[in-house]
Assembly symmetry: C2
Homo-oligomer: 423 residues x 2
């Protein structure tokens, strides 16, 4: 495999996986000498202690290795005047695949995490319905459910990239308000049909049982589509930080609209104009008007490794990997550039489900010790292409910091340091 052939894939070291074997990944595995490995005598390496005596017994609820304890969400409640207002960001730079373990799924709270007894919790459906209904948790467990893998992203995710200067940050600190999970719940249409929606209803409003009384309005036609009352996440009951015992789940839309600790759905003629769809979660445009109800999240991708604040310790082959998603469909294509967007190569995509889920992409990259700018660009099934940061800021301005979905640029310098840049 000549250097010239490799450059046909894309400049500055991007390698198609089918070429990788030709390179032999030289220097990755250490060559074992024959004195270490007798053909019949087996392995002569020192036998570690854990191979000599039985380990721990099986347990009821498993835990991770103590050697992975540094894998934590970045959690904070930054404003002392706003108790319970905070978030926890997923360690994207340490995660692999497209499912986020529940303990590391991002969260965003407006009044902390309530400790709800499911036996005391009620869900009410009322307003423009023939028959208002009250459901207990036990009632709801008997309804027909569906399971789907979806991404969830806070509309404030990546918001610092609207700023005039690139922040010093990691994939986690800059983009960690997105995660993926399998959600199981009851199609909301089942419950609304049971209550009997009057023809004049056009919206629902959904209110949570937290002390923020988080409320959001959703068009009825959307609520009757793929919206679910989610009761389970990755197989187990949704965690308190995700809305236990139940949350709304609105696939493809900003996380805030998937109201947690859901206790009330009201059928209405008009949107309710809650605080979190007027003073917050609106996109203030260049003309100073604010756009409400931005529903589908933009077509987006982020390289999670190598990524900001990492250091490449040696030249050689790396796996460039990241996640891509779209609120409007599936991910059809992810391209990666190592030269700041001048040349691009198609990455491999692992995607378990077509619609509104994280897709994991990967491409091998040979770092030769020079400067590089790594970027990824997603295209969804509707043909929407992730914009550059410049074109997004030019179009939307930077008065608002919601719904950033432009291309991220990670610069690698000759020392191997990786940093967020605008390129």
């Amino acid at each position: 495999m000549s250097k010239q052939e490799l450059e046909k894939v894309a400049a500055n070291g991007l390698i198609n996986r089918r070429h990788l074997l030709g390179l032999g990944l030289a220097g990755m595995g250490t060559v074992a000498s024959t004195s270490l490995l007798g053909a019949d005598a087996g392995l002569n390496l020192e036998i570690p202690g854990w191979s000599k005596a039985p380990g721990a017994n099986a347990s009821g609820y498993g835990s991770r290795s103590r050697f992975t304890d540094d894998m934590q969400r970045m959690a904070g409640n930054p404003n002392p005047l706003y108790p319970g207002g905070g978030s926890s960001r997923s360690p994207l730079h340490q995660l692999h695949g497209s499912i986020t373990p529940n303990s590391l799924h991002f969260e965003r709270h407006h009044a902390g995490i309530p400790d709800i007894d499911p036996a005391q919790h009620k869900l009410v459906i009322h307003g423009l319905v023939r028959q208002p209904l009250v459901f207990s948790y036990e009632d709801l467990l008997r309804y027909p459910m569906v399971s789907k893998i979806y991404f969830l992203e806070c509309s404030g995710n990546s918001g610092s990239l609207f700023g005039p200067n690139p922040a010093d940050g990691s994939a986690q600190s800059l983009h960690g308000l997105v995660s993926g999970a399998e959600w199981t719940g009851i199609p909301l249409s089942t419950l609304l049909d049971e209550a009997g929606v009057y023809p004049e209803a056009r919206w629902i409003n959904a209110v949570g049982a937290d002390a923020a009384s988080m409320g959001r309005s959703i068009p009825l036609n959307r609520a009757m589509d793929d919206v679910m009352l989610a009761l389970f996440q990755n197989g187990e009951p949704v965690r308190p930080g995700q809305g236990y015992p139940m949350r709304l789940f609105v696939p493809g839309c900003e996380g805030n609209i998937s109201v947690k600790w859901l206790t009330q759905i009201k059928l209405t003629r008009e949107p309710t104009h809650f605080r979190d769809e007027t003073s917050k979660y609106t996109d203030t445009r260049l003309d100073r008007k604010s756009q409400q109800f931005t529903f589908p999240m933009g077509t987006k991708s982020v390289i999670t490794a190598p990524s900001g604040q990492m250091k490449l310790e040696r030249q050689g082959i790396y796996q460039v990997t990241g996640i891509a998603w779209s609120g409007r469909g599936s991910i059809r294509r992810v391209e990666v550039s190592a030269d700041g967007g001048r040349t691009w190569a198609d990455a491999m995509i692992d995607s378990h489900q077509s619609e509104k889920a994280l897709a994991r992409f990967r491409i091998p990259w040979q770092w030769s010790g020079g400067d590089a700018v790594l970027q990824s660009r997603a295209t969804d099934s509707q043909g929407n292409v992730q914009p550059t940061r410049t074109s997004l800021v030019t179009e939307k301005g930077n008065i608002s910091t919601y719904h950033f979905h432009g291309i991220q640029s990670w610069a690698v310098n000759t020392a191997g340091d990786v940093a967020n840049v605008y390129a």
Copy 2:
């Protein structure tokens, strides 16, 4: 919707989901009186404490609700003469969807769970290769990876159903040695190609670093297919109970062959005939000969709710749900019977990935208070149909208790008690 029409779907209460709305799910949601729900005044129910004050702050590593603490694996190390030999069974009756959270994924250990420092762990590839290689954990993290959702099942799962009398048990105790997860790792072919496999090699043997030195043989053509060196499970590093820092993963095959704590792969001409493929994990047939190397797990399904040791507290609509899987492909169809297999109806299937993954099935069922026998029957993409228990036992005998994949029968009596029966 008349009773007569419902019976066209299948006898004894099975309902097609599209008919469900016609039934109105009467009695599920409680009708709210207008005094409770003023159209403008909103909800007048008592406001719970958690709606009045901010809850807990965000955390680095999240935990589940204290109200779900009873959801535990059934863990045991039954034999004091066999330290570290034991298992933990997934609470199938409490799980939903097709992803098992890592803390509740089943485990089976032969010498307990070793506490391995990844910085000290080595993977060696040797035997019939041009160049023996030693890999550190850090080396391996730089290799190209893939992510797939797969089931994993112990070959001893459901083994008690070979017995002459039906055991009193739950979905967990009888069938809990199966789980599903997204696995991320390096295609084993990449590493074998790098070592350079000699043409005379036909098998690999894989050995773990636990004190049992668990070893298994795998045909080379299978090892070069979809086998991976798994490093991550549902996004995070594989847990110690699953092989941290690395395990083999052989999709569709009995769990034991996906050697945990993998430390050695040797290329060989013949299978190695390890203890766990001779004295154990073999199927002794009616002629008293033992069949080795049963690789793909059978086409199988289990109803997880209603299931053994549950009690139906009242007549009405229930969701019959369960999981189905096949070691030979995807799940094409799951049928459910409420009358012990005389009539069948097709269940709905949620499947995120076609091959060798759990598929979740569901069908509504109206229990009218009479006797019922619930069964499920899976068909895979190769046309393999899950056999009845009787035909499986007739064919295989019951000297061995491995690889049971016959149809499970849950009897519901007029008191609503659910029990394992042979029907």
